[in-house]
């Protein structure tokens, strides 16, 4: 399928070179896009020596898609990955969900920002991106490579910064959507300009009946849910030098759960609800002292709540109640000094975060403060350099310093070389520090590193741990270090002509001190193990991505990209080298030594992924069509196809899940200057994979009625 399309493009390319080049300005648009994520100040993509790509509001609108994850996965090098831990022991619906894999790194290693501020509420490392209303997005900036030097923890693989809309004029917009699974969405938004103050408002309600990908299993794969979102943003420009931005976001989701569990060997139906709530407030004062000095002071706060109540249907009794509550408050000041091309950006802030969960005991608190500094040097017309670093001091682990250096070189007006190297870190999360959980069904216990003293004392008190076991080494808890990485990116932007643009980026990430679970050297009195977390693993990811943007004429536009990835566990490689790793022969079941060539790398990574995007616009008819294809090559998944070969590495051909392509088509027709219609088919090939991609529904249809006044 994909191969055919690439051929198609090549053919188009050939003919187009014969045509006059009087058209589209697509390449200028790409390089002249103004972004803020790379430097925390406004810069054109052209002048940034960093791999950064932008998804515009127009692209989002044209796609007709309202699901952010679906929009992101159509981008170069971004893959939707399900956390493999997402299937719980009792066969619960996937509690963690899907996230974005960038440069081969798990979703936990990408920082997700809204207007430069972090979201909280990661579950198993994954943030639910449905919390962001796509109708309120002005653009999405995707910065690849470590950005810890500006943003702190989690920005190892990169940053996805969602920039929300700024009110520009009095306006009233809306969309009514109806789609498969009885999905119904109503979005209303508006801009109001009132003197010095402008206000942007948005409200949205969305419901979906969910879907069932496997009829043989009781209940739906995705249960029905209803969302509400309200966003307000005001900007007051007091004078030319002072402005104040206030922003509030609210999101509420309710899901009706209905599934089967096994309650001590007996199947039982569970009914219940899961609630998710996201509230954030943001105030920013922008003060310009003169042309060479301005500062921004901000106060940001976000509260995230996720709780579920599960009842046994048979007798209506409470089966389980899980709560999770995370809160963050973050004051911050940033000062920009100097002329635009020699800008010195510096800032400092404080980060207070607390978590309350039914599985963490009491409230848990993490405080940190940070200081960052970044200098841009435009050496001459060709060479520009950015150097910077950030210092993070946290109450729970050793201070971290994360430097970054980037350089861009304009060989000529068509060719730009970009290179960067940076350090990143990911703080041990609350779960790794504070979890204290005994599984009543299976009997094991898992305790966060810092909580070991309390946890083990509890086990002794309740008799789960024998009196003779010496727990003194653990009494004060153990310290975890942040996971650390160094990332390298090297790329070119090549403008062949005004309608043909190439971009290539090579990347390599070395991640150390990955945090994994391990066994404590003693068992409970019930014979079951006690687990905790420690820094043990080392991995690397490396690869290349290439994008071609091509405008054939006023009507046709093509974007195609390809991503190549290798990701391996260095310790596994070492073990194989020293002949310590075995696997079972699929036929005889006998053990054999694993050879280096048998090892295919980390699970859940595709060596090959590709995207294709074809836009056709008919200006006479005010109509357009958009075809998107995402191809994901085969990827390893532990245990799939009954591929149990006696080890936990990807070294058996049966362990691969098949590759797949997701194909979407949208047609758009503008009826007049106020109304437009969109109709589309998602996942035309009807690809589903209930176990690995429960959130991917089969072929679906939608109709949007859009209006703007």
């Amino acid at each position: 399928m994909v191969r055919k399309f690439i051929l198609f493009i090549a053919v188009c390319g050939f003919y187009s070179s014969l045509l006059a080049q009087d058209v589209a300005d697509s390449t200028d648009k790409i390089l002249d896009e103004v972004v803020v994520t790379g430097t925390r100040t406004e810069n054109k993509v052209r002048n940034l020596p960093l791999p950064i790509q932008v998804i515009s509001a127009k692209t989002i609108e044209k796609s007709g898609i309202e699901d952010l994850l679906q929009i992101l996965q159509m981008q170069t090098g971004l893959v939707v990955a399900v956390n493999p831990l997402g299937v719980s022991l009792q066969g619960y619906p996937n509690p963690f969900g899907s996230g974005i894999q960038m440069q081969g790194m798990d979703p936990a290693y990408s920082l997700i920002l809204v207007d430069g501020e972090p979201l909280t509420g990661r579950n198993g490392g994954i943030l639910n991106l449905s919390r962001i209303t796509t109708a309120n997005i002005s653009r999405i900036e995707i910065l690849k490579g470590p950005a810890t030097s500006l943003y702190g923890s989690d920005a190892l693989a990169g940053v996805i910064n969602i920039i929300t809309k700024v009110p520009e004029k009095n306006s009233f917009n809306g969309r009514i959507q109806y789609a498969s699974n009885n999905a119904m969405g109503i979005t209303l938004s508006g801009g109001i300009i009132a003197g010095k103050t402008s206000i942007q408002l948005l409200g949205r309600r969305y419901q979906n009946d969910g879907w069932d990908l496997d009829k043989s299993i009781y209940g739906k794969t995705i249960d029905p849910y209803t969302d509400y979102s309200f966003d307000v943003k005001t900007i007051t420009k007091f004078d030319k030098k002072n402005s104040l931005t206030l922003s509030a976001r609210y999101y509420h989701d309710k899901q009706n759960n209905n599934y089967l569990i096994d309650e001590r060997g007996k199947p039982e139906v569970i009914n219940g609800n899961t609630y998710e709530e996201d509230k954030s407030l943001y105030a920013k004062w922008d003060r310009k002292i003169n042309d060479r000095l301005n500062f921004v002071a901000g106060l940001y706060t976000i509260g995230y709540d996720n709780h579920s109540n599960a009842f046994l249907k048979s007798n209506d009794s409470l089966y389980e109640k899980i709560t999770f509550n995370q809160y963050l408050i973050k004051p911050e000041v940033q000062v920009n000094i100097g002329p635009a091309d020699q800008l010195l950006v510096t800032g400092a802030g404080y980060h207070h975060e607390s978590v309350k969960s039914s599985r963490y005991g009491r409230d848990r608190i993490m405080d940190s403060w940070f200081l960052f500094l970044q200098k841009q040097f435009v050496v001459n017309e060709k060479l520009n350099i950015i150097a910077g670093g950030r210092y993070d001091k946290n109450s729970l682990y050793a201070a971290q310093f994360s430097p970054k250096l980037a350089a861009g070189y304009k060989v000529n007006s068509n060719l730009i070389l970009k290179g960067s190297v940076g350090a990143g870190f990911k703080a041990p999360d609350f779960r790794q520090q504070f979890l204290d959980f005994s599984n009543s069904l299976v009997g094991y216990t898992i305790i966060g590193a810092r909580e070991l003293g309390n946890g083990l004392t509890r086990l002794k008190r309740t008799g789960l741990l024998s009196e003779s076991i010496d727990i003194t080494p653990y009494l004060n808890g153990l310290e975890l270090s942040p996971e650390r990485s160094v990332g390298y990116n090297l790329g070119i932007d090549f403008t062949y002509s005004s309608n043909l643009f190439f971009r290539v980026n090579l990347f390599r990430n070395d991640v150390n001190h990955l945090i994994e679970t391990y066994n404590l050297p003693f068992n409970q009195t019930n014979g079951k193990a006690v687990f905790s977390y420690q820094n043990i693993d080392r991995v690397f990811t490396e690869g290349a991505e290439a994008t071609i943007n091509y405008s054939l004429d006023k009507n046709w536009k093509f974007i195609t990209s390809y991503n190549y990835l290798i990701a391996k566990d260095k310790d596994v490689v070492d073990e194989i080298r020293s002949g310590k790793l075995y696997r079972r022969d699929p036929i005889t079941g006998y053990s054999h030594i694993v050879r280096l060539s048998d090892y295919k790398g980390l699970y859940n990574r595709s060596k090959h992924t590709a995207n294709l995007n074809v836009q056709y616009t008919n200006h006479e008819w005010d109509a357009s069509a958009l075809l998107s294809v995402k191809y994901r090559g085969r990827y390893g998944f532990q245990g799939i196809n009954n591929s149990t070969d006696g080890n936990t590495i990807l070294d058996d051909p049966r362990e691969f899940a098949k590759g797949y392509a997701l194909v979407d088509l949208v047609l758009c027709k503008e009826l007049n200057k106020n109304f437009s219609l969109q109709a589309g088919v998602d996942n035309i090939l009807d690809y589903t994979q209930p176990a690995l991609l429960p959130a991917q529904f089969g072929r679906g249809y939608f109709i949007n009625v859009n209006f703007k006044f």
Binding site: G527, Q638, G646, T648
Partner: protein, 196 residues
């Protein structure tokens, strides 16, 4: 609970050297090489028992005797001694190539000290467990490159490798009906530590 031994297509007790040693006259072959399997009913609350010397399952009625050497129940493996039975059975868990294990050590054996502190680690997720647990399919498969040197209930020596644990699941069922443990072993009946 009825226990039935099922699915034994691979039962192959081979007396080695029956032909080869005939020319070397008089040497009696005492080594037994076996590949066998045993089924455990998933609802069962007790183990299934197996005798390495006899190469067969031992009934529950004989569970309190020294007739069996090794027992299976879900993910746990017990050996007939100490907390688990009246025999002398013990184990050394080894990592490496099963074929190249030519003899058994005379000491260093671990025993089931209590019903919950078994010689063979069976904790889910534990890196030292005898199996690899798969959180997606819930399957557990014997860790590759691991085998057991077993001292039997009557003090003889054997080496044993677990090959697979296969769940038999009826369509639509939540649980497997049975688990089938497949293993191979070499049993030295003459009491020596030699497997060659």
């Amino acid at each position: 609970m009825k226990m039935k031994k099922i699915a034994l297509p691979l039962l192959s007790i081979v007396l080695l050297g029956a032909g080869l040693t005939s020319c070397k006259d008089k040497k009696v072959e005492t080594k037994v090489v076996v590949t066998d399997s045993i089924a455990w009913n998933f609802q069962s609350s007790h183990h299934v028992f197996y005798s390495l010397s006899e190469g067969k399952e031992i009934t529950l009625a004989d569970s309190a005797t020294a007739k069996w050497d090794i027992g299976f129940n879900l993910a746990t493996i017990i050996l007939n001694s100490h907390a688990s039975g009246p025999g002398q059975a013990g184990v050394i868990v080894k990592t490496g190539n099963y074929e190249s294990a030519t003899s058994a050590p005379t000491d260093g054996y671990s025993y089931d000290t209590t019903a919950l502190q078994l010689a063979i680690n069976s904790n889910p997720f534990s890196p030292n467990a005898w199996y690899v647990y798969d959180p997606v399919t819930h399957a557990f498969s014997p860790k590759a490159g691991q085998y057991f040197i077993v001292k039997t209930a009557d003090g003889k020596y054997a080496k044993l490798e677990m090959i697979s644990v296969i769940p038999v699941i009826d369509p639509g069922a939540l649980y497997p009906k049975t688990l089938i443990y497949k293993f191979r072993y070499t049993y030295q009946s003459n009491g020596s530590v030699n497997f060659n």
